[in-house]
Symmetry: C2
Subunit: 249 residues, 2 copies
Amino acid sequence: MIKVSIIGSGNVAQHLISALSNATGVELVQAFSRKKENLTHLMDAAQIVCDLKDLQPADLYIIAVTDDAISQVSAELPFSGKLVAHTSGSLSINILDDQNRKAVFYPLQTFSKSKPVNFREIPICLESENDEDFERLENVAHAISDKVFSINSEQRRAMHVSAVFVNNFVNHLYKIGNDICTEHQIPFEILKPLIRETAQKVMTLSPLEAQTGPAKRGDKKTIAAHLELLTNANQKNIYQLLTQSIQHE
Amino acid sequence: MIKVSIIGSGNVAQHLISALSNATGVELVQAFSRKKENLTHLMDAAQIVCDLKDLQPADLYIIAVTDDAISQVSAELPFSGKLVAHTSGSLSINILDDQNRKAVFYPLQTFSKSKPVNFREIPICLESENDEDFERLENVAHAISDKVFSINSEQRRAMHVSAVFVNNFVNHLYKIGNDICTEHQIPFEILKPLIRETAQKVMTLSPLEAQTGPAKRGDKKTIAAHLELLTNANQKNIYQLLTQSIQHE
């Protein structure tokens, strides 16, 4: 039984607490939250601590707080020589304080409080300073997910940038699509099968193979007609830049 | 039994032929293809004609050819007064020749020959010159899809632009994500659950509600770090423009 405690009470912390509570081979010892009520819907109030000094011994402490707070929280931990992981996609393992053994336990997913996720499908990217600690991380990760990867800090940074493209930016293009629909009294509903199919296609084809559309075809007439229809300068800029980028790929 | 013939042998034509062959209440009379062998895997060779003059009477002729060819093909039809629809997302109903009754039968989907699609999930956008013809189109559309919409030429043009954003451009962002992964020896596999989840999220949340990430949070430090990591000028430009666009939404 590997003992794990979670430090934090945001989205990622809450999803980790849910997943670890139901995992076999892992014991969720405690969670730290400045406000107890943030977590009482997920675990026993007696297991929630509001002071880092009340943390009991565990085999792994996972710091799931905002990027800006990780460094300070790790320095405030009232123990040393323990295995401490952060969950950030963009920060190096070395942001953690030297007093403990450093690690990263990064679930690559977009979490929102309102939507349940199937953790078994979420890739978890691990990094540690030595092989023994890596094995510990692996055991915890496998207890909640089927997709566990070894990813170093430099790779993780690049992966996080990729994730911004395929998640944040993609979602923003959905938003522009929605805006254009609203402007022309078209139900956004019509686009949903296309959105699903576009994502589904790259599960089996490479994105390069899956590319279609006027930019790919070099269909200048359609491109010109589309640019004429777009009245919003920002939408126009995005249309032009992405069209050029597709044409040069 | 509504009699339908398909003119064309490309992606859209082939998917329509498959769907209509299996539909109830619809009889697929013939298909026109310059080369018979393009369609022999889908239908009886006797039903495939290579000369428009061999087209038999039908209640609806669907022209599923490239945008550039629609006008000419519709002018070459050796009959008049019949119901003739094109399948283009970007062209007006008026591109069709005046000799027949004009209509549009536009399935909004990305078709690739290599991937089967579930036509019942595909929205079909209809337009006609009068109510009686609209009812005919509706009957054919409902025979193959559960999602049938009345969309006029102006709306369809706007919808097609939306579709470019949520399909072509989204796929291109997947491609950039893939490129960044390759450059850093990260399996693209890791990003796939995120891609699926990002699409899934907007099935129930609006894209504005679903937006997350450094641009949304105004996290300048992460944005600067990402821009530093990107070495490709084109990727950098896209990152900057989409980040600005999210921040101004």
